[in-house]
Symmetry: C2
Subunit: 216 residues, 2 copies
């Protein structure tokens, strides 16, 4: 029944055009209006609290608030409980994102961004250990996401990253041989400096080709 109440509450907020900051009725009133016990109402409210949709303070009551858009998503992103197919789908989703970033990046990149990337690339040249390589890889691609100036996309990619790495690790464990890309971070950076969005897309596709080879 908490299911129903939760849904009805959300519909109620939507129907009455509640906005973040607006106070919502107290638990007892809701319980009476919906003809359920306060207990059930609290279960439903607890769900919405998890999503960040409502906040509550003693005596002051509860207010609607802006939810954490990926809060629920984050809680559920566990490689152990998701199906293999879903994990692969998410792996591809991150690839798609990465390939689609070019135009946003070229729209918003700044000189400071280029300098940051140069620092990251310069560090990568004298690295041997695999764990450091992975960290450098993450730093470079993470910076690309940051350059879009889109906080939501960046958060999304941060959440997707562990899944991506998990899928790669699983495939390697099963004997997948990843070829080394002919396009390096240095090449990508060069295009960011002097090239076009179109060239960047092509280069990024080539850079990620080892992953694409394993898709089909």
């Amino acid at each position: 029944m908490a299911d129903v109440v939760e849904k009805r509450l959300r519909e109620y907020f939507k129907k009455n055009a509640f906005r973040p900051g607006d106070p919502i009725p107290k638990e007892m009133e809701l319980a009476e209006a919906l003809q359920v016990s306060r207990n059930v109402v609290r279960e439903a409210l607890s769900r919405l609290k998890m999503l960040g949709m409502i906040e509550s303070k003693k005596k002051r009551g509860m207010i609607l608030s802006e939810p954490d858009i990926f809060g629920g998503f984050e809680r559920v992103l566990d490689p152990l409980i998701l199906e293999q197919q879903t994990l692969k789908d998410l792996f591809e989703l991150r690839l798609v994102l990465e390939l689609g970033l070019a135009d946003l990046i070229f729209l918003r990149k700044t000189d400071k961004d280029i300098q940051d990337l140069e620092k990251i690339v310069s560090k990568s040249t004298n690295i041997n250990k695999t764990s450091f390589k992975v960290k450098n890889e993450i730093a470079f691609h993470g910076k690309l996401y940051e350059m879009t100036g889109n906080h939501t996309i960046m958060r999304f990619q941060t959440l997707l990253m562990p899944i991506f790495e998990y899928v790669v690790a699983e495939e390697e464990k099963q004997g997948a041989a990843y070829s080394i890309s002919r396009i390096t971070h240095i090449d990508l950076l060069e295009i960011l400096k002097n090239g076009s969005a179109g060239q960047f897309k092509e280069a990024m596709r080539a850079h990620l080709s080892p992953h694409f080879e394993r898709l089909i």
Copy 2:
């Protein structure tokens, strides 16, 4: 306190490598183990039920199950309660997706897919009413997502679509004049038939340029 219990439960499942289908301890046992009342445990469990992480049947007890990966996301996607900036971020996110699809589409497209697209395009020629145009637009782009064979990406775009439309409608309401793209669905279809992924990316970028013009 439901917050804490919910987190501890998830950690408990993860630590003990619980998999979908595994039975989990009963409410009373959890309550005792965590030193809280059964009520608090039920609030936490109710949250996880919302995410689809657990299912419960009377007497049989509760089992862990595969969560709905976008369940929480879906509940929160209301234009009225999200910040303007977040809405714009999501608008861009969908643009990025659309631009990144090309390689997956060319990897997996079938003759049947092309036929389906041709049907959709042929219907669009003799349409005047705006509402039908929008529906046709959705059908065409939705089909593109479907062609990736990636159910997760498709679901994600379905969720994002209403937000995308909301943002477009809001901008038009504020006097934004959308120029008409020089690349039509017909052009895109032609490239799908006889062109390359690279050409498709370029064409899609041009097709979406009216949206990009409003970004900066």
